[in-house]
């Protein structure tokens, strides 16, 4: 269930539509400070259903919409699409309550300045819970250890004994 492609538009510093095509093995994102590398991680967390603005370094969810630069006006919407290679059939996307097996599964999330949100699975409107349910039991739901944010690698070591327990419970 590998990642095939990430498309970001109006998401944080990615004012313009930008694509990343991912291969098997190891990909490395490089670049100077402040140029947008960690924002790519935020985009992936967000499209998979992250609901905490704080966990995306913001104070409110509208913070993820490109809010302008000295030369550009702000965007009216943030959009992220993530495409998965589903040739093993691990993901079972549904549309209108019906199973829709597919070789590639794409998930899209949009947020408008108005606060309105949209979710799509394979271009069909979906709810956030459909996305979360689709990823349950795929090993991806517990992103607690599959996404290690900048500065957070020693988190498990520094956490209290109870917090580590919660980490285990989430993964188990």
């Amino acid at each position: 269930m590998k990642l095939k492609k990430l498309i970001v538009a109006g998401f944080k510093s990615f004012a313009d539509r930008t694509e990343f095509e991912f291969d098997d093995g190891v990909s490395c994102i490089v670049g100077p400070n402040g140029c947008g590398k960690s924002n790519v991680v935020d985009a992936i967390k967000w499209v998979l259903g992250e609901q905490s603005a704080k966990s995306l370094r913001g104070s409110e969810m509208l913070d993820v919409i490109f809010n302008g630069s000295s030369a550009r006006k702000q965007s009216g919407m943030a959009m992220v699409t993530l495409e998965f290679d589903n040739s093993e059939g691990i993901l079972q996307p549904t549309a209108n309550g019906q199973m829709q097996p597919s070789e590639t599964v794409s998930v899209t999330r949009r947020l408008y300045r108005s606060g309105q949100s949209e979710y799509l699975i394979n271009k069909n409107p979906a709810r956030l819970r459909d996305i979360k349910e689709m990823f349950l039991d795929t090993g991806m739901g517990a992103s607690a250890y599959s996404i290690i944010e900048q500065g957070r690698v020693s988190q498990f070591l520094q956490a209290s004994q109870e917090e580590r327990r919660a980490f285990f419970d989430e993964a188990a």
Binding site: M1, K2, L3, K12, S13, F14, A15, D16, T18, F20, F22, D23, D24, G25, V26, S27, C28, I29, V30, G31, P32, G34, C35, G36, K37, S38, N39, V40, V41, I44, S69, S70, A71, R72, I90, T138, G139, M140, A142, Y145, S146, I147, I148, E149, Q150, G151, V153, S154, Q155, F156, L157, Q158, S160, Q161, R164, R165, F168, D169, A171, A172
Partner: protein
């Protein structure tokens, strides 16, 4: 459920004992239930002893040692419950060259089942990637992806340096 937690805990624990020794080239580490009689509520303690050193609280470990022990922990979860992909954002920030190499070698053991996307400023980590994605701001405040060749990784900062101020 109690059963599921114990299974996960046991698997992660075994992996941690092994992977710690792999990342440190020796030594000994373990995770323990603070209250084995109350599995569902018990906290979790970590002990770690780098090779040649005595056992003491993990708070006394150095910055790089803490990162290596934490990576052993993270990959122990991975081995117990594989995830199709893994995003690692600058986890090598505190590591010297030798430890960066050991961390990179460990990643190599997991790529069969897991797709890795790493962010790093370290040339050594860049060198284990199959492909490099450059992210830069040629226009200030606006991110853009550009292709980067491996030969350029050495002077990556000049290649990708944002517009002069």
């Amino acid at each position: 459920s109690r059963q599921r937690f114990v299974e996960t805990f046991t698997a992660v624990r075994e992996n941690f004992q092994t992977l710690f020794r792999k990342l440190f080239g020796g030594g000994k580490a373990d995770i323990l239930l603070t209250d084995p009689d109350d599995v569902l509520e018990s906290g979790i303690e970590i002990v770690a002893r780098p090779p040649g050193k005595e056992l003491r609280s993990i708070s006394l470990l150095s910055g790089g040692e803490k990162t290596m022990a934490a990576l052993a922990m993270i990959f122990s979860f991975f081995r117990a419950k594989p995830s199709p992909f893994c995003l690692l954002d600058e986890v090598d920030a505190a590591l010297d060259e030798a430890n960066t190499e050991r961390y990179n070698a460990l990643v190599g053991e997991f790529i069969a089942d897991t797709q890795f996307i790493m962010i790093s400023h370290a040339k050594r980590t860049m060198s284990i990637a199959n492909v490099l994605y450059g992210v830069t701001m040629q226009e200030r405040g606006v991110s853009k992806r550009i292709s980067v060749r491996f030969e350029e990784a050495d002077k990556i900062d000049e290649v990708l340096e944002p517009v002069a101020m």
